[in-house]
């Protein structure tokens, strides 16, 4: 039964391959699963490149944002300076920022990662900053009462209590970056933009790749979001205890 079906499919494929205009991709139909399956190898490296862009830029943005947040935590006058500076960077559309960096860092993955990191920096800094500002007075007093130094207070009380909001920032940053990183193709970096633009729009508006590229981008965003929801739960177990 299965064997006959396979031979039948094979015959169909041979016949279709014979005349270009009658194949699914030849007719440029909305979505050709057979094309994707046959060429699945072509999608691997854009997906991996996309993952590198997202992970590297979220990590870099997170590290710098945390340093800035801790710096401005004890020096409140720095907060508007940091929010203003990162806010201006956030206002510049990603595609413009990619190319403004061109004369400085050239075309390629580094340029894309730097630009994406700057967006992540703004989102994560804002959240970390408000997380640290919203620590209940009573928690700080308890810590001080237990004889904690300022440094201990930061590491044992303030940062853990701010963690849910910090991770919320990382979640927003990651999901946005998955979407924005598709534009990295215009900075000469690969990623899913390669499927959408180079292999889609530029290849005679090849619908299968445009649909599949969009699907990949949205699935990646959903996967990261789900993963970070789990991290959020593990990082703040007391919240879960309260919810139960």
């Amino acid at each position: 039964m299965l064997a006959t079906l396979t031979t039948l499919l094979a015959q169909v494929q041979i016949r279709e391959a014979g005349s270009g205009a009658t194949t699914c991709q030849g007719k440029n139909e909305a979505f050709c699963p057979s094309y994707v399956i046959d060429n699945i190898d072509d999608y691997v490296s854009p997906v991996l490149e996309h993952l590198v862009l997202v992970l590297a830029s979220v990590l870099a943005g997170f590290l710098v944002a945390m340093v800035l947040a801790v710096l401005s935590h004890g020096r409140r006058w720095l907060i508007p300076v940091f929010i203003g500076t990162t806010g201006v960077l956030y206002t510049i559309p990603s595609i413009a920022l990619f190319l403004l960096l061109l004369p400085i860092t050239g075309r390629g993955t580094e340029t894309a990662i730097i630009a994406l990191s700057l967006y992540n920096l703004q989102i994560i800094y804002r959240n970390a900053n408000s997380g640290l500002a919203n620590i209940p007075r009573s928690a700080l007093d308890s810590g001080t009462g237990m004889g904690m130094t300022k440094r201990q207070l930061l590491w044992k009380v303030e940062l853990p209590l701010a963690l849910p909001e910090i991770i919320a920032g990382v979640r927003i940053a990651t999901v946005s970056t998955v979407a924005i990183a598709t534009l990295a193709i215009f900075a000469g970096a690969g990623g899913l933009g390669e499927i959408l633009y180079n292999e889609g729009v530029q290849r005679g508006v090849f619908k299968t790749n445009i649909v599949f590229g969009s699907l990949l981008a949205v699935s990646l965003a959903i996967a990261f979001d789900g993963l970070l929801i789990l991290v959020q739960r593990f990082a703040a177990p007391w919240r879960r205890a309260r919810a139960l």
Binding site: A30, R76, V88, Y90, T91, I92, P93, S94, I95, A96, L97, F98, L99, L100, L102, P103, I104, I172, V175, S176, V178, A179, I180, T182, L183, I185, F186, L192, G193, L196, Y197, G200, V201, V205, K207, I210, V211, G213, S214, A217, V218, A221, I222, D225
Partner: protein, 252 residues
Amino acid sequence: MAEGEGPVSAVLAIPAFLGSFGGAIDFIFSQRESVQAGEPIGGLSQIWDLLATQMAVSILALVLATAIALPLGVWLGHRGVGEFAAVAIGNAGRAIPELALIALMVAFIGTGVLNVTIAVTILGIPPILTNAFVGMRQVDRGAVDAARGMGMTELEVIRRVELPLAVPTIMGGVRTASVNIIATSTIGSIAGVKTLGDLILGQATYGTEGVIAGAIVVALLALAFELILAAVQKTLTPRGLVLQRAAARVSA
């Protein structure tokens, strides 16, 4: 040849990248021949044409997105219904790549100003809707109760109490939408609308200087929108709210 290498070229690297920006600025102000054929490119008249198209699409989309999303978000927020939908739309909006939306539109709906404006509007709606909802929900319930106690109608409660107090959050959404809209209208050039993206994505025709010139003008356009919206926010924010926040900052 040999004397140009080593430490000398390292020193020359700095003026070299300034040179690219300098060339880009020159591209904005003066016309030259295109890279391939002898067509005139660059110069203020071409920049202005592209800028005007992009501004028209962006302003129209921002107005449309606000007209659709703001009343809906305000009403849902006032009634306190649809929280899941309002937040989910905001999250989904963030996950949709601009490039994918434009590419899908080119593949299935078509190109042209109307289509691009609709696509750009769609990307402007989520942040405005979500922020309007959240802004209305964040208003102190005591203030709303007090307004009702004074005999205000529901419409008056919205217009005179909730909306003014929600202005900072609502405008935050409009500003995010504005960034999204300008970014997306730039890519509109792959859908046959001659925006500044035409320069940014047209290295073959305009050269690196044209690409960077496009990026500079897009960045300036986004900053100009941001400044205007910040000024709008400042005029709309009630004076009492400003004073209250300033007081909170001093006491903190």
